[in-house]
Symmetry: C2
Subunit: 383 residues, 2 copies
């Protein structure tokens, strides 16, 4: 991918897309476009006049993109401090949360001020949670810098950290006041991280947007190279996720659809011990989503052709689709079943899965028999 | 005070009072009465059938009252675990929060299960905050065991911990599903802690309930000895606080009235270094509330007779009303002014105080000149 385009004062303003997340008094805008970081100051100042800010970021993103954001905020008169944490999933801990919270309070930010998350989903989840609990809730702005964060984690208000006993077990629902997604920042992302984020876009389409899935089929190359199609794919994903969130903000029912591919995916991640060298989250989602479609086909819920179309799509963008593609020691069915049993979507004996009746027709199935899953996975392991 | 009456199976059910906190979907009941702890299981099971519970308590309260609660829950079939923390304000820390959260998760409680806070305001604030963030919010039941907690901290949904940089700076708004106030549990409280809690009752009346204040004037002795008047005083305080909270759940305006006496009170607590031997919170509130009335009289906002009536009331129940009553080295005006300046109710130069136009006629004054406060305190220091 190409390097970050330099901001020039006389460059024509790049086209921007807007998505409105409709959550009543907690509703907010998502603004999407290449080069948006240089306009971050004015976008924030216009909506939140007079605020001060704490920018939470990780060392990697800080080195790549912090300076431009700082210049943009300064130009808009937004006084700010920087809070830097290490990159990676282990940063979503009580220790880092304590430290970030202490720095926000130390900067004397008030309830009406904002925490800005500049980074991937780890930063968004950690900084968002910190902003939810300092002074019982202060302002929050998401500036997602990974594709996963732009299409998934920055939308919907889930924030949090991990417990030693499990991922994302501690947190808050805290909606941002604004999301600024600069799609050009994704140019510094590794191709593997980009593809992993793309898996969540395809997943979103496969839940309830068959037309979006057809559009992705036709435009996937342009999304990877960047250009208006990338912006459009982020926009459509945000629209799709925002609709699911608006229908069930606090995950009491239908929001579980967003877990399509994730019960299998989490079991795969757990089985490799969350070793990102072997499998990153989005790759687990890609394989998991294919498994959800193949399992649905096996149960006679959808056509085998739908499962094949799903698999072909992920394979075409270079994502793994079979368990046997995961490098390293082969996995076994007992380990996978243990992972599925520990997933929070289990209820007294029967398993809850997101299954599908076809492309874009996912549904919550809460009565799946473990024995059927086990038989299915045994076949899949050797495919 | 007398010892805890033993629960007997054939004792007639003691009369119970109910207060409904009207917060729409987050509304809940406060049940008040002596001996209520023995009915805790049925009260919870009736409203929240099938829940499991984690009871958070401190070592002091655990020794006095845990066993009875455990028996009551068992009788109602409520499976539960105990989580014990040390007593005292320092327990409201990130370290204790991390530990309590870990134990709740370790007990495999789900979102629909409940955390029960059995203790004073420290336990309610800590356990409530833990319940707000485990799985992004689980059920919560308050069982306040101090007078302060029954009339103040258990009502209104504020939960949280302290930062090394200031009290209550980290937390969440998380309403309980139920509050069970057993007024007989207060019999094991020291007279000093009881009187400190009473200061919050009188404060509540002085905000906007002149009739309640007159009733307190007539019934204060019976409240201290226990009996129906104690239950009634708790009930009226809860009604008064619930009304303020319902009008402004997230403290964006009028809820600040609850800070009557607290800007002066916090400055006094800070000036003695939060040394509870010299001054407990409720004593600071008593002196602070008298100061707020005297300052209002000095500014010509209320009659001197109102300030005298307020002072006489606190003095009659044995609470301090003058700064000079605080034992130890005399305080000085510079220290007090620094404490007032650090209080969160300051805004760019002018100070915000809760002042009054008379008994039960408090209001928010956001333009108080620091010089006037300083002159007033200089006089008060030698009174
Ligand atoms: N809150 C939600 O609803 C939600 C939804 C999905 C996932 N998540 C969470 O998101 C996290 C995963 O997000 P992620 O994949 O973005 O992880 P991440 O934040 O760890 O980012 C991945 C890596 O990319 C680097 N990076 C970020 N932006 C970059 C850029 N522009 N250029 C170069 N490198 C860059 C980071 O430093 C990091 O090393 C997980 O913790 C997951 O639980 C949350
Ligand atoms: N959340 C709110 O809205 C709110 C409002 C006011 C105060 N608070 C908080 O409440 C806390 C103060 O509450 P508190 O005064 O109840 O303090 P506390 O919880 O520390 O209790 C005071 C002492 O009494 C002991 N105790 C409790 N119940 C007892 C009983 N029945 N018999 C004998 N001993 C007993 C405790 O072990 C403790 O040592 C502060 O942290 C304050 O910030 C919160
Ligand atoms: Zn995902
Ligand atoms: Zn108080």
């Amino acid at each position: 991918m190409s390097s970050v385009p330099a901001a020039t004062a006389d460059a024509p303003a790049a086209p921007r897309s807007h998505v409105r997340v409709e959550l009543g008094a907690r509703g907010y805008d998502i603004v999407i476009g290449p080069g948006l970081i240089d306009a971050a100051g004015e976008e924030i100042a216009r909506r939140l006049p007079g605020v001060r800010a704490a920018i939470v970021t990780d060392t990697t993103v800080a080195g790549l993109h912090y300076e431009r954001l700082s210049i943009a905020l300064r130009a808009a008169g937004i006084d700010h401090v920087q809070i830097v944490v290490p990159p990676g999933e282990t940063t979503k801990s009580f220790a880092q949360l304590t430290d970030v919270v202490d720095q926000i309070i130390g900067a004397r930010l008030e309830r009406g001020d904002v925490v800005i998350a500049l980074g991937g989903g780890v930063i968004g989840d950690l900084a968002g949670f910190a902003s939810a609990i300092v002074r019982r809730g202060m302002g929050f702005v998401q500036m997602p810098t990974t594709l996963l964060a732009q299409v998934d984690s920055s939308v919907g208000g889930k924030t949090g950290i991990n417990s030693p006993r499990g991922k994302n077990l501690i947190g808050a629902f805290h909606q941002p006041a604004l999301v600024l997604s600069d799609t050009a920042l994704l140019d510094t992302l590794s191709p593997r991280e980009f593809a992993a984020g793309y898996a969540e876009i395809a997943k979103m389409a496969l839940i309830d947007r068959p037309d979006f899935f057809a559009w992705l089929d036709a435009n996937r190359e342009a999304i990877f190279t960047g250009g208006p199609e990338r912006v459009e794919s982020v926009r459509q994903s945000c629209i799709a996720k925002a609709a699911v969130v608006a229908a069930d903000e606090r995950e009491e029912g239908s929001r579980a659809l967003l877990n399509l591919g994730h019960t299998f995916g989490h079991a795969l991640e757990a089985a490799v011990g969350y070793d990102a060298k072997r499998l990153v989250h989005g790759e687990g989602v890609a394989i998991g989503t294919v498994l959800a479609h193949r399992f649905s086909a096996k149960l006679g819920l959808c056509l085998p052709a739908d499962a094949e179309r799903c698999e072909a799509h992920f394979a075409a963008v270079g994502l793994p689709t079979r368990i046997s593609e995961i490098p390293g020691a082969p996995l076994d069915v007992a380990t996978l079943m243990a992972g599925i049993g520990q997933d929070k979507k289990v209820r007294r004996g029967s398993l809850t899965f997101i299954l599908t009746r076809g492309i874009g027709q996912a549904f919550i199935a809460s009565d799946v028999a473990p024995a059927g899953v086990e038989a299915f996975l045994t076949e899949e392991l050797t495919r």
